[in-house]
C-alpha cells in the first residue's frame, strides 16, 4: 500500500471513511445552526490548544495499538496499559521526589518509569498472546481488569487512597522567536514538550511503517505471515516487537494523562483513563491504520473532550454530565460509519511455523 497516494485516491478507496467524516461535519454544522452556537468563540486558538493537549494520550495509545494490530495482534488491552502508565507516572514522580515537593525532573522520571513498566508488562502480554496463543480479546479485557484492580490497589499502598495527592505537571516550553509566530507559534512553540514528543512519535511511526523494511515486515506479519516466514523473517519476533511498542506508547499516553497534563493519578470509578484506551482503538480505525490519520481522529476526540470547557466559556448551558458523554457518542457514530474498515487479514490468528 503506497502512502503517497493522492487525496482523491484515498477517497476512492475509502468512500465510507470520507463519507463518515463529511457526515460528522454536516451534523456538527446542523448543531451549530440549531443551537445558534457562536462559532467564532468556539473555534479559537485556545480551543485548538486544549484539543491538542487532550488528544496527546489518545494519539500515543492509538499509534501503539495500530502497530500491534498491523502486525496481527489486536491489543485490546490499551486501556489497561494506559491505567498502569498513568499510575506509574504519578508513582514514579512521587517516589523520585521522596514524597515532598515533586519537581520537573521527578515528573520526567515518572514518565520514563511508566514507559519502562508498561514495556515490561506488554512483554508478558506478548508472551501470552503470541507464544501461548491466548485469546487476544479475552486477554486484552483481562489487562483492563488488572489495571482497574491493581491501579487503585497500588495507589492505596503508596498514598493510602485510590488517588494520588495533587501533583504538578510538566511545564510548557516557549521557543524564543518562533513562539511569536501567529497561531502556529502559540500552538506549537509555546506548549508542552510532550506535544512535540507526540508529534514526533506520530511522524516516526508513519515513516517506519511505510518507508522502512521493518514497517513492511510489520504489515506483512498482519497481512500474509506465511509469505514473511518464507522470506526468512521470524513472524512472531516482529509481532513481539510491535506489541511491546504498543504497550510502551500506551504507558506513555497514560503518564501524559496523569503527570504530563493532569495533576496526578485518580483511581476512582474506572480511573482517570476513563475509556481513552478504547477511544484510541477507534481513533486508529477511523484513521484507517495510518498514524497520521489516527492523530487526526485523536484530535477530533480530544476536541469532543474539551467541548465542556468551550461551552462554559461561551455560555451554552448543557449539563456537564451530558457534554462529558460527547466523546463516547462520537465513537459510536464513527464506528457505525466506518466499522467496516478492512483489518489486516491475519489479525487474531496466532502463527505457528509448523503450519
Amino acid at each position: 500500500m503506497s502512502a503517497s497516494s493522492s487525496a482523491a485516491d484515498y477517497a476512492r478507496r475509502n468512500p465510507l471513511t470520507v463519507g463518515g467524516a463529511a457526515l460528522l461535519v454536516v451534523v456538527a454544522a446542523a448543531f451549530v445552526v440549531a443551537f445558534d452556537v457562536p462559532l467564532a468563540d468556539l473555534l479559537t486558538v485556545g480551543t485548538l490548544q486544549r484539543s491538542l493537549r487532550a488528544a496527546m494520550p489518545i494519539a500515543l495509545a492509538a499509534v501503539g495499538g495500530l502497530y500491534a494490530e498491523k502486525s496481527g495482534v489486536f491489543n485490546i488491552g490499551l486501556e489497561g496499559f494506559m491505567i498502569f502508565g498513568a499510575l506509574t507516572g504519578a508513582a514514579g514522580a512521587w517516589l523520585a521526589s521522596g514524597g515532598d515537593s515533586v519537581g520537573q525532573a521527578d515528573l520526567w522520571v515518572g514518565i520514563l518509569a511508566a514507559v519502562v513498566v508498561c514495556t515490561l508488562l506488554t512483554v508478558g502480554f506478548a508472551v501470552l498472546t503470541v507464544t501461548f496463543e491466548a485469546d487476544q480479546i479475552v486477554a486484552g479485557l483481562a489487562v483492563w481488569f488488572l489495571g482497574l484492580g491493581f491501579g487503585p490497589f497500588t495507589a492505596t499502598v503508596i498514598w493510602g487512597g485510590v488517588s494520588s495527592p495533587s501533583l504538578p505537571n510538566v511545564d510548557d516550553v516557549t521557543v524564543p522567536l518562533l513562539a511569536d509566530l501567529p497561531v502556529v507559534g502559540e500552538l506549537l512553540f509555546d506548549t508542552s514538550p510532550l506535544l512535540w514528543i507526540t508529534v514526533l512519535v506520530v511522524v516516526v511511526a508513519w515513516v517506519v511503517l511505510y518507508r522502512t523494511r521493518y514497517g513492511y515486515w510489520v504489515q506483512a506479519a498482519g497481512e500474509n505471515p506465511e509469505a514473511l516466514d518464507t522470506a526468512g523473517v521470524d513472524v512472531n519476533r516482529v509481532r513481539y516487537a510491535a506489541v511491546v511498542v504498543s504497550g510502551a506508547l500506551a504507558g506513555l499516553g497514560g503518564a501524559v494523562l496523569s503527570v504530563g497534563i493532569g495533576s496526578g493519578f485518580t483511581g476512582t470509578g474506572v480511573t482517570m483513563v476513563d475509556g481513552r484506551g478504547w477511544i484510541a482503538i477507534v481513533a486508529y480505525l477511523f484513521g484507517n491504520y495510518n498514524p497520521l490519520g489516527a492523530f487526526g481522529a485523536s484530535l477530533l476526540f480530544g476536541a469532543m473532550d474539551m467541548l465542556q470547557i468551550q461551552f462554559q466559556t461561551i455560555g451554552v448551558s448543557l449539563p456537564g454530565s451530558i457534554v462529558g458523554l460527547f466523546p463516547y457518542v462520537a465513537v459510536l457514530v464513527v464506528l457505525t460509519l466506518v466499522g467496516y474498515t478492512r483489518v489486516p487479514a491475519a489479525v487474531g490468528e496466532p502463527y505457528d511455523t509448523e503450519q
Binding site: F74, D135, V143, F150, T156, D274, L335, R342
Partner: protein, 376 residues
C-alpha cells in the same frame, strides 16, 4: 464478514473451538487451577505490599462464609453475578462479545425504579400492590435492558461496528445519562445526594432465614430460575440451537437458513433482557431506591470472568458465580478489617480471566507434569 468484527469473530471462533475440544474435566481443571493460581498470586502481592498473607487468606475465607451474615452477603453478590454471568454467557455462546452487561444492568434497574416510583400512587398499598409493582418493575427492566442491548446488536449486524467497543461506550453513556436524569429530575428537592426517593416500604423481598435487609432467598431463586430458563432455551429450543451454531460455526448456521445478522440482534437482546432482570433485582432487593450508577459494583464486568470460568455454560455459571460472590464478599471484608485495599480482588479477577484466556499454558504445564492434557 469483514471488518474488526471479522477479527474478533476469528478469535472467538478459535477460543470456542478450543473450548469445544477441551473435555469437561479439562475445563474444570483449568477453571480451578486459574482461580487457585490467581489467589496465590494475590497472596504474594499482599505479602510484597507489606501485609500478612496468611491473615489475608483466612480473613478472605471468613469474610465469605465465616458467619450467617457473611454467607448472606456472599449469596447476595452471587445472585447478582449468576444473573449477570448468564447474560454474558448467552452472548459469548453465540460468538458475540457483550461487554455491555453493566450498562444494560444499569438501564434495567433504572427502568424498574421509574416504574415503581410512578405506578406506586396508582396501585393499592400493601402486599398485593408491592408484588404488582415488583412485577411491572421487572418487566420494564427486561424491556429496557433488551432494548439497550439491541442497539449495539444492530450496529454490529448491519454496520460491522465492533461490539466490544460499542458496548463499552454504551456503558459510559448509560452511567452518564442515568446520573443526569436522577440528579436533574428525580432527586427530591432539598437533598444534595443524587438519590431518587425510596421505594414504598411494601416493595421489597422478605428476608426469610438470613435476616438480611439486602438479601432474600427469593432473589437467589430468581437467579436460578433464569439459569434454568436459559439452559432450556439454549439446549432444547430451535432458537438455542441456532444461537450455539452461529457461535461455533457461522457458515454452518448460515447454510441451515439462519440469518446471521438477525441472530446477532436476537442474541444481544436476549442477553440484555437477562441483564435487565439483574438490574431489577439490584434496585428492588439491594438498594430500595436508585442512585449514581458510577457508585455501583461492577457486576457486569466480574460476570465476564464468571462466564469464562464456566466455559460460557449457563449451568456452570452457578458454581462460578458462587465462587466469585465469595471472593467479592471476602474482598470487601478484608477492605474493612485488614486495611488491605478491596481493589485487590478486582486484580485477582483480572488474573483469573488472563489464565482462562490462555488454556495453552495449562496444556503445556500438564504435558510437562504428565497430568493428562497430552492431546495434540
Amino acid at each position: 464478514m469483514s471488518g474488526t468484527a471479522g477479527g474478533a469473530r476469528a478469535a472467538l471462533d478459535r477460543a470456542a473451538d478450543r473450548m469445544v475440544d477441551a473435555t469437561a474435566v479439562e475445563r474444570f481443571v483449568i477453571a480451578v487451577a486459574s482461580t487457585a493460581l490467581a489467589l496465590a498470586f494475590g497472596a504474594v502481592v499482599v505479602a510484597v505490599s507489606g501485609y500478612d498473607a496468611v491473615e489475608f487468606m483466612s480473613a478472605l475465607l471468613y469474610g465469605a462464609v465465616g458467619n450467617l451474615q457473611n454467607v448472606a452477603f456472599t449469596l447476595r453478590q452471587s445472585t447478582m453475578l449468576v444473573l449477570a454471568g448468564v447474560a454474558v454467557a448467552v452472548a459469548f455462546r453465540a460468538g458475540v462479545f457483550n461487554i455491555g452487561v453493566q450498562g444494560q444492568f444499569v438501564v434495567g434497574g433504572f427502568a424498574t425504579t421509574l416504574t415503581i416510583l410512578f405506578l406506586a400512587p396508582h396501585l393499592p398499598r400493601g402486599t398485593v400492590g408491592g408484588v404488582l409493582l415488583m412485577l411491572f418493575g421487572t418487566v420494564a427492566a427486561v424491556i429496557a435492558g433488551g432494548a439497550y442491548a439491541a442497539v449495539p446488536g444492530v450496529m454490529k449486524a448491519y454496520a460491522d461496528a465492533n461490539e466490544v467497543i460499542t458496548t463499552i461506550m454504551l456503558n459510559f453513556i448509560a452511567n452518564g445519562v442515568v446520573f443526569y436524569l436522577i440528579d436533574g429530575s428525580l432527586r427530591p428537592p432539598g437533598t444534595s445526594s443524587p438519590n431518587t426517593p425510596s421505594f414504598p416500604d411494601y416493595v421489597g423481598l422478605p428476608p426469610f432465614a438470613f435476616g438480611s435487609s439486602s438479601f432474600s432467598v427469593i432473589g437467589l431463586g430468581v437467579a436460578l430460575l433464569a439459569v434454568a430458563v436459559v439452559y432450556v432455551v439454549v439446549a432444547r429450543t430451535g432458537f438455542g440451537y441456532d444461537l450455539v451454531t452461529s457461535g461455533y460455526q457461522e457458515s454452518a448456521a448460515a447454510y441451515s437458513g439462519v440469518d446471521p445478522k438477525r441472530m446477532v440482534v436476537a442474541t444481544m437482546t436476549f442477553s440484555g433482557m437477562i441483564a435487565g432482570v439483574c438490574g431489577a433485582l439490584f434496585a428492588i432487593m439491594i438498594l430500595g431506591y436508585y442512585t449514581d450508577p458510577a457508585t455501583f459494583p461492577r457486576f457486569g464486568f466480574d460476570a465476564i470472568a464468571v462466564s469464562l470460568l464456566a466455559a460460557n455454560n449457563p449451568l456452570g455459571v452457578v458454581p462460578a458465580g458462587l465462587l466469585f460472590g465469595g471472593l467479592d464478599a471476602g474482598g470487601q471484608y478484608i477492605g474493612f478489617t485488614l486495611d488491605v485495599p478491596a481493589e485487590l480482588i478486582d486484580g485477582i479477577v483480572g488474573i483469573v480471566v488472563l489464565f482462562v484466556a490462555t488454556p495453552e499454558l495449562f496444556r503445556i504445564a500438564g504435558r510437562f507434569g504428565g497430568l493428562g492434557g497430552g492431546r495434540e
